[in-house]
């Protein structure tokens, strides 16, 4: 399993209700059920992946987070997980607010656009960066709102949500992000993982 998923599983308490937004093939949901005895639900936009989830016995609805989070009442989940898709939404602000309305807490992961490879790519080549975690060309990428770890921290102040825990993933190593190391983490982390609250 991806290190990212392991970190998320560790962040989630046992026997809670979790909504995985963009649950993909259900890998994370499966381990949440198995390791944390979680009541897990998923939303996934791809029909094929919904069908894969069903074959694993997971409760998943086909849908789009921007349209379909509306149907869930306030605080209906203990956690809402959004893995590496915030940058693909038309309006990330609305999505974060929806996540924090539906869930008491949210876990958001973002591919870090501040990573040195990304910066170097643009600086040296002068073309839009293509890396392992950002494999698409500018014209076919679903990512329309890329941000850096620093941007996300700034965003928390702008739209007013609390970051409870921020973790950086660098070469499968996990470390804490704080004010003093933000500059370095923003340069070296491939992924930022944030546990947030209203």
């Amino acid at each position: 399993m991806k290190t990212e998923y392991k970190i998320i599983v560790d962040l989630i308490e046992e026997k809670t209700r979790v909504l995985d937004v963009g649950c993909d093939d259900g890998t994370l949901m499966e381990s949440l059920k198995k390791d944390k005895n979680v009541d897990a639900r998923g939303i996934e936009i791809s029909k094929d992946k919904v069908q894969t989830c069903v074959s694993k016995g997971l409760t998943v609805i086909e849908g789009n987070a921007e349209l379909d989070l509306k149907q869930f009442p306030n605080d209906s989940f203990d956690y809402v997980v959004l893995g590496q898709t915030l940058q693909a939404f038309v309006n990330p602000e609305i999505v974060i607010k929806e996540l924090l309305r539906v869930g008491k807490k949210a876990i958001i992961t973002i591919p870090n656009f501040g990573h040195w490879k990304v910066r170097l790519n643009l600086l040296i080549k002068g073309t839009m960066p293509i890396t392992e975690s950002l494999p698409n060309d500018w014209y076919n990428t679903p990512n329309i709102h890329m941000c850096t770890i620093k941007d996300f921290v700034k965003f928390s102040k702008i739209i007013n949500f609390k970051i409870f825990k921020s973790l950086a993933l660098t070469n499968k190593n996990i470390s804490n992000i704080n004010n003093s190391n933000l500059f370095y983490k923003n340069l070296f982390a491939e992924l930022g993982i944030f546990l947030i609250e209203k």
Partner: protein, 372 residues
């Protein structure tokens, strides 16, 4: 109508108060079963049929001698695996395959009911069928499954009997008919009523059949079961056994011939009055109204696991109407999964060989059964 000898019938002695206010008792409910009930009696699936279906879900229908209406989905190793599950299906009341319906004789007058038969509802159908659980001594069904009007019965069933099923699978259905749905049904009913032979529903006593009217009703309805794309790909403007237009009103186009055929075979197996009664039941069905405008309340008492399936090309009960049920369930934190299956086969997709659908249905049932 053929003599229906091979039909299993349960006589329901318990009085059933219908929504129309009348009470019926000692009435027949025709049913069929497939597979076998296990020792714990926890492997039973109650399948509900659609408007023109019957209890003969799979195998050869002993009355029509044709394949059962859900042969693709039900049988050994199929989506609803009869090696594993005990499948029960009953002919709805108001129907014409042995259950209490308008072609039966009224014991008080010794005359065929015709339109004197009480107007029945989806709620009445479900309340009649729940008696089968007592008959088989089943406390809780593993699942209730049905498409189209069968899906309406699924929704009504779990709403009426929240503890009587572990899983709930409404397919290609709606919680109430749109004006367009009612309009198409009314077209069918008027086609029947305007057939001279219908004689205000007394045709069986007159030894005639309103087969022209019933056949037109079927033709119109059949169009609503298919998609524009599906029809275009299958028929387009192809001509029927001719090289050129004949400049007349014979069936020049293949689609005309196809619809006429569908109409003509339908009248051999279906009763016109039953068609009136069942379409009326569908039009009257409104689970939203039953719960004062809040569909969520229909499901508040159940802990069952729901799985809802719609089809991309179904314009009779479009995805959004299926999704409204999902939304109502999510609003109360119910356990609900949902998928829209890609298919060009229209509303009829659930009856046809649509591998993604059949696979998904099987996966849901088998996985839920092993985790129960």
């Amino acid at each position: 109508m053929n003599i229906k000898e091979n039909i299993k019938t349960l006589v329901i002695k318990k009085p059933l108060k219908l929504d129309c206010g009348k009470t019926i008792n000692n009435f027949p409910l025709a049913y069929e079963t497939y597979g076998s009930l296990n020792k714990n009696k926890d492997n039973a699936i109650l399948v509900f049929h659609a408007l023109t279906g019957d209890q003969f879900v799979t195998g050869i229908n002993p009355v029509t001698k044709k394949d059962g209406w859900w042969s693709y989905a039900v049988g050994p190793n199929k989506s609803i695996d009869t090696n594993k599950y005990f499948v029960i299906c009953a002919n709805v009341i108001g129907g014409c395959m042995g259950s209490f319906g308008p072609s039966h004789k009224n014991p008080d007058t010794n005359k065929i009911y015709g339109t004197d038969f009480p107007v029945i509802t989806i709620n009445d159908m479900v309340n009649a069928q729940v008696n089968l659980l007592d008959h088989f001594e089943i406390k809780k069904l593993f699942s209730v499954v049905g498409g189209s009007m069968g899906g309406m019965q699924v929704l009504q069933f779990i709403s009426n009997y929240p503890d009587k099923a572990n899983t709930v699978v409404p397919i290609a259905c709606t919680s109430n008919h749109s004006a367009q749905n009612i309009a198409f049904n009314e077209l069918g009913r008027q086609a029947i009523a305007s057939d001279h032979n219908w004689s205000d529903g007394k045709y069986l006593s007159n030894n005639t059949l309103p087969d022209k009217g019933l056949s037109v009703a079927r033709m119109a309805a059949h169009i609503t079961y298919l998609s524009k794309k599906g029809l275009q790909e299958k028929f387009g403007r192809k001509l029927q056994e001719r090289d050129a237009l004949k400049f007349g009103f014979d069936a020049d186009f293949q689609i005309e011939s196809y619809l006429r055929y569908q109409g003509s075979v339908f009248v051999d197996r279906f009763d016109a009055n039953s068609y009136l009664y069942i379409t009326r039941a569908m039009d009257y069905f409104d689970l939203v109204k039953q719960f004062d405008g809040n569909l969520s309340n229909a499901f508040k008492k159940t802990k069952a696991k729901f799985f809802i399936i719609s089809f991309t090309s179904d314009w009779l009960y479009p995805t959004q109407e299926n999704k409204d049920i999902v939304i109502a369930l999510n609003a109360i934190g119910a356990d609900v999964g949902f998928v829209e299956i890609k298919s060009d086969k229209g509303h009829d997709s659930f009856l046809l060989d649509v591998p993604d659908f059949l696979k998904t249905l099987k996966n849901f049932l088998d996985k839920s059964y092993s985790e129960r």
